[in-house]
Symmetry: C2
Subunit: 224 residues, 2 copies
């Protein structure tokens, strides 16, 4: 079930909205979505719950993850403002989702979109496309997981930079533990690798949550 939380602290200073780029899917959600607010670290949905809604982030950041029996956690993806997540073809979520920061999120019933797709081929195609994009993300993630620690961290930074649109300045909403669980490393290895990248002048780390790409070319080279 959806659990709503009140925000105690002001929401993060991300652009409040990314324009719906002539995409029927985004437009639908923007038009029909009901805003909800989730506090930092609160659960948005759990792994076995019925997938009743689709989510679009207005502001904030979200992680989706799976947990093995013994507690190991693998983060499947990070979602930032403008991103859509939580869409399932079948009736059940295959991952859990949590707010990394306080979030404002638009929520639409999955069934609404599906019945819309029955009448509108374009919507149908975009539902498919959304899943296809997720698939590509997952495949890229697999390729990341077979690399060395340095390559994984470099790849992660490049990916975040590309999505940040701020170019070389990356603001990390997530903790080192989140990054570690995304990359399949330990928190210590992530930390060490970052300081090492700083030592070789590939990046700057003014604060732990802010990283500047000083030499993206070198990073790309390190990425494999």
């Amino acid at each position: 079930m959806l659990k709503q939380f009140t925000i105690e602290r002001p929401v993060r200073s991300r652009p409040d909205h990314i324009p719906a780029d002539g995409n029927a899917f985004h437009s639908s959600i923007d038009a029909m979505g009901a805003p909800m607010y989730f506090a930092r670290n609160s659960e948005i949905y759990g792994e076995t719950e019925p997938a009743e809604y689709v989510y679009k982030i207005v502001s904030g950041a979200v992680r989706t993850y799976n947990v093995l029996d013994d507690g190991r956690r693998q983060i499947g993806a990070f979602y930032l403002s403008g991103d859509i997540f939580g869409l399932e073809l079948a009736g059940e979520h295959t991952s859990s989702a949590e707010a990394i920061t306080d979030c404002k999120i638009l929520v639409v019933k999955r069934s609404t979109l599906v019945s819309l797709a029955d009448r509108d081929n374009e919507v149908a195609r975009e539902l498919w496309e959304m899943t296809a994009v997720e698939l590509q993300r997952a495949q890229a993630h697999i390729m990341l997981l077979i690399k060395t620690a340095q390559e994984r961290v470099a790849g992660f930074l490049l990916e975040m930079a590309k999505r940040s649109a701020s170019g070389r300045d990356v603001e990390l909403p997530m903790s080192r533990q989140d990054i570690a669980d995304y990359l399949g490393l330990t928190i210590e290895t992530v930390s060490r690798t970052l300081t090492q990248l700083e030592k070789v002048a590939a990046i700057n780390i003014p604060t732990s949550r802010r990283i500047t790409l000083r030499n993206p070319v070198a990073l790309t080279r390190l990425n494999s």
Copy 2:
């Protein structure tokens, strides 16, 4: 481009066809598909090629994979008879595909299916579903890659056994190197882990390409 090869040796002894289970997608391919034959280790399509066709295996086995600059190969999936592969939403393949054994494969134009989907909502949904199934497979693969060697191998055997339908008797069409590249391990580690599993009486290895699950419960426990 598609490259066709003649088969020198008899095709593998798998059931020649798995009945199309009332699924419009499978039926369409069965009805419209043109049979093609690929020799062992021949390329079915390459990573950057236009994704013109969708493939359904009648007999044989296929691997899809990606290669990093430095040559590291990651196998994304194994496909067996009855499986469909090669479907892309966009116009380009994101992986390469090769025949593991000599294969008989039904081939249908992607455009045919897509235009069919424009008129038939059920087909549209099944295109989506096909991608969704791939996504789930990829997500399961990610979870596999964060496990220990023993867990990965045990998980792989259980997965193959489930797909074999022969229950506890697994016939492996792929080499140890293929398995290693699928599991993100080296060939030596795969081999050692298998002999170790045999030593603890979890499996039998009558020949290197045939494995019997002697204690599936123990395997499941080892799987994490």
